[in-house]
């Protein structure tokens, strides 16, 4: 046990001290910060622009009925259209709204602007015009608009989740995003850290140090120590990413925004998730750890069977295939049909479960399915570790021998 700790310590420290680790750890929060800064900057830019809309109303039906808003200011003018058009040429953010005397014809109202007007602004104006026109028509038809306003309902759909504890409000969007992000993160980290385990095994084998080490510890201890060490590196990296991302987005959001500072996306996101976050995060951590243990054991076995990274191709393919399959189906199809039979089965089979289950969880997974999936995950990683260890203990001492699947099967059945 003490020796496994020593191995874990070495595997962890040599990786965490590497420049690549430090660069990656700083780069990701940096990118998030940059993205966040750009979003805030764009939003600010948008807010600062105030469009002055000159209204040339020949019908007089809309006079004085426009309401100014933060980004729009209406100014009524009464000079002819051609003269008004000329003045428009000089101001970039100004617009000319021309309402001819007869507005009942379609396409008769025109907005002139030097710059192409943004879609949302044109939409806003259109809605406003329609509201005013409708109001006018109602008055003409002797409908009491005050009465009408009272009657008019304002329905807003709110998502409610039915649970045993009663209805609970849940933000489907945030929950879904977490599941989706979880699936992608698990998919990527299985590859990244699994490959690191494999490279570590190949390094020990090609440098020939492995025989010295297995004269001090059991091959299984070495393999397990390496898997755990690299796994801890992965967890450290995630933790640092989350902490650093929260800090930088807080700083940018708080520092640059003044009184109307936006909350950081992370806190905003977590507050949207409500109580679900604990459940979803624990599922994520469970599937991350068991999925990582399962795949990295397989990667370790592959590493032990080859003499260099270029030889790994033939063994990598069957390992990466289920993962890739699960990932592609998850992001393209399963999030629309999380309870389809294929999704259910793939979320139970250990090789695909970590990715597929992540996508399904926001939509609610029956208890027995989750339980079965988790039980199989644990059984799966124990089995994979057992198989991998049997191949590994022979493979690491086989130098310069090209391994085939037949050879691997033989190694598996070797006695101690």
């Amino acid at each position: 046990m003490e020796k496994i700790l020593l191995i874990i310590q070495r595997e962890y420290l040599t990786r965490v001290r590497k420049r690549a680790f430090i660069v990656m750890t700083l780069l990701v929060p940096g990118l998030i910060a940059a993205m966040f800064a750009i979003v805030i900057y764009m939003a600010k830019q948008q807010e600062q622009i105030v469009h002055t809309i000159y209204v040339l109303d020949e019908s007089s039906a809309f006079k004085g009925k426009f309401h100014d808003s933060k980004s729009k200011k209406y100014v009524t003018i009464d000079y002819p259209l051609t003269a008004a058009k000329d003045t428009m040429q000089q101001h970039e953010n100004d617009m000319l709204l021309y309402i001819p005397s007869a507005t009942d014809k379609k396409d008769s109202v025109t907005v002139y602007a030097k710059k192409k007007s943004t879609l949302s602004l044109a939409d806003d104006i259109q809605t406003e015009l329609n509201n005013i026109a409708t109001g006018n028509s109602m008055v003409q038809a002797h409908i009491d608009t005050v009465q009408l306003h009272k009657i008019k309902s304002n329905i807003h759909v709110q998502a409610q989740e039915l649970t045993d504890a009663g209805a609970k409000s849940a933000n489907v969007g945030a929950s879904y995003a977490l599941g989706f992000a979880g699936a992608i993160l698990i998919y990527m980290s299985l590859f990244i850290y699994g490959a690191q385990v494999m490279r570590g095994v190949i390094e020990e084998k090609t440098s020939r140090i492995v025989e010295v080490i297995v004269s001090s510890v059991k091959p299984f201890q070495l393999m397990l120590g390496k898997i755990i060490g690299v796994g801890l590196v992965g967890l450290t990296q995630f933790l640092l990413w989350i902490i650093l991302s929260t800090i930088v987005t807080q700083l940018i959001g708080g520092g640059g925004g003044g009184h109307n500072a936006q909350p950081s996306p992370v806190t905003q996101f977590t507050s949207n998730l409500g109580e679900n976050i604990v459940y979803e995060l624990s599922c994520f951590i469970f599937y991350w750890i068991t999925g990582y243990m399962l795949y990295s054991a397989l990667f370790a076995a592959v590493g032990s069977a080859v003499d260099s990274e270029t030889e790994t191709q033939q063994f990598m393919f069957p390992i990466t295939l289920p993962l890739l399959f699960a990932y592609l189906l998850s992001v393209s199809y399963f999030f629309q049909a999380p309870d389809s039979p294929l999704a259910v089965w793939l979320s139970i089979i250990p090789l695909t479960a970590p990715v597929v289950m992540m996508v399904r969880i926001p939509f609610g997974v029956p208890g027995w399915q989750l339980g079965l999936s988790m039980a199989l995950m644990i059984a799966g990683f124990l089995f994979a570790t057992y198989v991998a260890a049997r191949i590994y203990r022979v493979g690491i001492l086989m130098y310069g021998k090209k391994a085939s699947y037949k050879e691997l099967a033989k190694w598996f059945f070797y006695k101690e």
Binding site: T14, S207, R208, V212, S216, P219, K415, E416
Partner: protein, 301 residues
């Protein structure tokens, strides 16, 4: 101190060790000899508990070999190497701690060895920055730093440059004088006579010979002598107490290789020859380990 009894090891389809037994006494330098593929490395790996035998037992200092003995053994495999990207000092500490040493103790012992082998200036260098010779010294240090009772060296002199091979040999012999038992495998016979007290000869997974070097050599003496004389070439009529195997004639001397008849001694040979010619030299022909090895192996084939 090491008793190997009836070890059998089979890999799918072929037998690596077939009922091999041997005894290594404390303080011995023991040679494990045999051609490539004889099973030397398989046996060494079993002693190191890297693999387990299919049947048979090993006793270490009278106890059945178990995990607790790992720290008492120092092993230098034939395929040598270290972590290339790790600093040498840190790496040596790591390897020593895997052998059960505490960090402080490891540092102390390593300082001693680094100074002794004059590599102390390289403590903070990565292995890949070191010369091959330095790496070999470091490898040796990692084998002996935990002061093992049994030092196992698999083909210790292959791969080392001659200067380092000599240096390592001297260090190993010094450790032996201080009480360590040495077990090493080799297919280079000339190193055997120089170093070994006892040997075992393996061929095709079987033990074909074992014992002390002296006993083995004695048993392979076959009353053959080399005699050099000056003067006219002698002719032998069959009444002499020996038979002639070979005759070599040069300008100033003649050499004959003779095999003594049963029951005769070298003195009788001299008594017979002295009246006839002048003797320059009489020497018993003792076979070298290499000859014994070749003879044994080829006889079995």
């Amino acid at each position: 101190m090491l008793s190997i009894r009836n070890i059998v090891k089979q890999y799918a389809g072929h037998t690596a060790l077939n009922d091999v037994s041997l005894e290594v006494n404390k303080g011995q330098v023991f040679g494990l000899l045999g051609p490539n593929g004889a099973g030397k490395t398989s046996l060494i790996r079993i002693v190191n508990q890297i693999t387990a035998p299919d049947s048979g037992e090993i006793y270490f200092n009278g106890e059945k070999l178990n995990q607790s003995h790992i720290n008492r053994i120092g092993y230098m495999p034939e395929e040598r190497g270290l972590y290339k990207k790790m600093e040498i000092g840190e790496q040596m500490i790591y390897l020593a701690r895997l052998k059960g040493m505490s960090r402080d103790e490891a540092v102390k012992r390593l300082r001693y060895w680094f100074e002794k082998l004059e590599i102390q200036a390289w403590w903070n260098k990565k292995i890949e920055e070191l010369s091959k010779g330095m790496q070999q010294k470091a490898q040796f240090v990692s084998t002996v730093v935990h002061e093992p009772d049994l030092i196992i060296l698999d083909e210790p002199f292959s791969g080392f440059d001659p200067v380092n091979a000599e240096l390592i040999k001297d260090e190993v012999l010094e450790l032996n004088r201080k009480g360590a038992t040495i077990l090493f495998s080799t297919h280079r016979m000339e190193s055997v006579e120089e170093l070994c007290d006892s040997i075992i000869l393996l061929n095709k997974s079987k033990k074909i010979l074992d014992g002390t070097v002296k006993d083995i050599k004695n048993s392979y003496r076959n009353a053959t002598y080399l005699i050099e004389y000056t003067g006219d070439k002698l002719t032998f009529d069959g009444s002499q107490p020996f038979s002639v195997d070979e005759e070599t004639v040069t300008d100033d001397s003649n050499t004959i290789k003779v095999k003594l008849n049963a029951g005769t001694s070298a003195n009788e040979v001299l008594n017979y020859l002295i009246p006839k010619t002048s003797i320059n030299m009489l020497q018993e022909v003792v076979p070298t380990m290499n000859e014994i090895f070749i003879e044994k192996v080829s006889k079995l084939n």
